[in-house]
Amino acid sequence: MEETDVVFLWGSNARAAHPIWFHHLLKGIHNGAKLYVMDPRRTESAQWADVWLGLNVGSDIALSNTMAREIIHAGLVHQEFVSNATSGYEAYKASVESYTLEKGALLTGVPADVIRDAAHTFAKADRAMICWTLGITQHHDAADNVLALINLCLLTGHVGRWGCGCNPLRGQNNVQGGGDMGAIPNKYPGFQEITDPSIQARFEKHWTVKLQPEAGRNLTQMLHAMASGEMTSLYVIGENPVQSDADGHHVEQALKGLDHLVVQEIVMTKTAELAHVVLPAAATWCEGEGTVTNSERRVQRCRKASEPPDGAKDELWIIAQIAKRLGHDWGTPTAEEVWNEFREVAPEFAGGMSYERLDALNGIQWPCPDESHPGTTFLHERLWEKGEKRGPAAPFTVVRHEGPVEMPDAEFPLLLTTGRRLESYNTGVQTAGYDSPLHWGEMLDISPEDAARLGISDNEEARITSRRGSVVAPAHIDRSLRAGMVFMTFHFPENVATNLLTLDVSDPKSGTAEFKACAVRVEPSRALAGSAHT
């Protein structure tokens, strides 16, 4: 990051959402790196960019495919890498052929010469990387968006090398660790395939239980299964889906229809209020022990700093007690014992990460197979090896531009996109608890052009209506927005339930919901009922 030459920050406002990571990017910029920011909004991050590509919401694939075509036609493909280490290049090449600069400019709203410049700069750089966040993944074609960016890195050989690569910046302190530990529907701990019979047999032997052989449901599929009555019980640990998920009304109804809802939480959330049983839990990050994995795959220890409030129990204890009541006596395992079991079942992944070593090295980046291994700074280095050591080729994937599911029309003429602000976090369960001069409450960010057209002034209450719901929020005239776009967060759901507006449409491959694009109508509140004006 600090020693790269070109950074594409794509669909990420890291200055606000990952402030300390952005310090490292700034060091890179001060060292001479060029920064390109792809974001429909001219964010705080974009203000640091050499070039800002203000693309239309949901046109990421069009932009990357256009860049790819330009790189191919300009003869800037890293031929040696592509022929040695990748597969599917010819099909990919054919698939992007129609994405001319002119077509790309039309689809993305980014001028053709700017796309051309970005493509050439990226391809010619000695070291370049693409970093992205939810601007890429909170779309109905999330996985395709990611694949489109990976294609660009493969095309130019910017992968598996120091200062290069594809870097998703994780939004939560342990979203990576949850996956590592197998808290995803299709993998065992250490990303081992559930559907592989030999792996399944190994886990059955280790746990001495029979395991079901099918991948489970992801969050979005679970919500649909609840709605259809197929799923009748739910155990929620530390999540607030009523307020965090798209199309809030739909989620609330699904949860209300359950026979049995258990919520394990540190505070009484909206979701917990619906529960049949609430299990009060200690806040593991400071009232318990464990590990978390950050965006650079670094496993680090959480340590107990204070005692939980009366009645709140350690989460490991709660889970072990539930297991006991279900007929499995796990005793009272410590976090370290659970971690060591993980090392045992995923030795290639974490075998070398003892608590002692995690302490001594300030965390270790996986994979780390044995205790002499220093951890892995970057992945996919094997692609540059010769012969058998290179391993399987990295595939290009053909992806096509589709655009958002819901586009503005006469009735809902504006496109709402959602995100985060610096001082707040997700549904505000944590961040509403401290006083901050930056807590302004929820706002509707709107471009000066649209505000003028709709007759809305700064700080005036506006009603925002989509096909699913309607909310009221004060307008904030924001020059970083182009006409036609409005922006909100979901940090203050008690006051403004933004996710009543958003779309319950999700990516079939990853299950992530399309938070980034929904069509809305905005009116000044005073123009409606008259009395709503404050």
Binding site: E3, H18, P19, I20, H23, G75, L76, H78, Q79, E80, F81, G157, G160, R161, W162, L169, R170, G171, Q172, N173, V175, Q176, I266, V267, M268, T269, E273, W285, C286, E287, V292, N294, S295, E296, R298, Q300, R301, C302, R303, K304, A305, S306, E307, P309, E381, Y425, T427, G428, V429, Q430, T431, A432, Y434, D435, S436, P437, L438, G441, F492, N495
Partner: protein, 328 residues
């Protein structure tokens, strides 16, 4: 296009040449580029300093760390002068001690150093007598020092020792700026600027004795560019910048550092994985910092990490439905 050579691993760094020098009669060998201060620390000689910090570029303004280098007409700041081959350095001879005593006395006569860690011992060690400059001048009224204009000086009053005394600025819920305690070390400016945060909310305004840390046009913090990361608080050596929580607790006498414990954990927010050192007193988190030698943070945090942990210790009020959201 084929790239003829592809660098995969981190580019090799030239092994640094070693520099041989002598500090207080002891031979030291350090990599080229090491400062005299760094060289002295490798052999256990600690030179006092206020404005130096490992994670910031040295600005050598406090002059506490001055040492003698043989052949140099004047003393040199050890925090920023690089070690050179054959240097003969004296860190504590009479000339150095005399200068250091004067610098400390001048600082202590004009600045409130009561919350500067280690300062009382240092003043004792150098037999400082800050009172000999006369009784301290009465404190300036709020805003007076901030209104000083370059070139317009009030004639000094010989009956009093000039001081920075003025009321602390409390203009937000997160931190307090008590510039009566400021030694103008520039650390906060550096941390807010290119060294780390790059927000540039504060800078040094004014000249001479009127010099002070200021926001743009001396506006309040909420009206400034400040993003409340608190990285300035983290580097402040005197307690001039302090979290409001600590300021209030010190004010009502409930701040007891000797009773505090600390533990390193990981911030509960985004996926960067910043190490948080939680300082706990009576089972309540009272402060969050991050270790300077942590490769991810270099001691820095954002507003959420520095202040956003109150949610774990909100005591539910009897009978109330204490939900964690929306209470604004």
């Amino acid at each position: 296009m084929t790239t003829p050579f592809v660098q995969i691993r981190r580019p090799d760094r030239e092994p640094k040449k070693m520099v041989e020098l002598q500090v207080d009669g002891i031979a030291v060998s350090v990599p080229e580029g090491t400062t005299i201060l760094g060289a002295a620390r490798t052999i256990g000689i600690d030179i006092p300093t206020l404005c130096y910090l490992e994670t910031l570029r040295p600005v050598n303004v406090c002059r506490v760390c001055m040492v003698e280098v043989e052949g140099s007409r004047v003393l040199v700041p050890s925090c920023s002068r690089a070690a050179e081959p054959g240097m003969i350095v004296r860190t504590g001879n009479d000339r150095v001690k005399h200068t250091r005593k004067m610098v400390l006395e001048l600082l202590a006569s004009s600045v409130d150093l009561s919350t500067t860690p280690g300062m009382a011992a240092l003043l004792d060690e150098y037999e400082c007598d800050p009172e000999r400059y006369g009784p301290p001048a009465p404190p300036a009224a709020a805003g007076v020092r901030d209104a000083a204009v370059c070139g317009h000086h009030t004639p000094p009053n010989p009956d009093f020792a000039a001081t920075l005394a003025q009321p602390p600025i409390v203009d937000n819920d997160l931190y307090v700026r008590d510039y009566a305690k400021c030694v103008l070390c520039y650390k906060c400016v550096e941390a807010c600027g290119v060294d780390h945060q790059n927000t540039f909310a504060i800078a040094v305004a004014g000249r001479g004795f009127d010099a002070r840390i200021s926001t743009e046009l001396a506006v309040t913090l909420p009206d400034s560019a400040c993003v409340y990361c608190g990285n300035c608080i983290a580097v402040c050596p005197t307690g001039a910048l302090m979290a409001k929580r600590e300021f209030d607790m010190r004010g009502d006498g409930s701040w007891h550092e000797e009773k505090q414990t600390s533990a390193d954990t990981i911030c509960p927010y985004c996926g960067v994985g910043c190490t948080l050192t939680l300082h706990v007193q009576d089972n309540e988190i009272v402060k969050a910092t991050s270790p300077l030698d942590n490769g991810i943070t270099m001691g820095n945090l954002c507003i959420k990490g520095r202040f956003g942990w109150r949610f774990v210790q909100r005591k539910p009020e009897a009978g109330s439905q204490e939900a964690g959201t929306g209470a604004l």
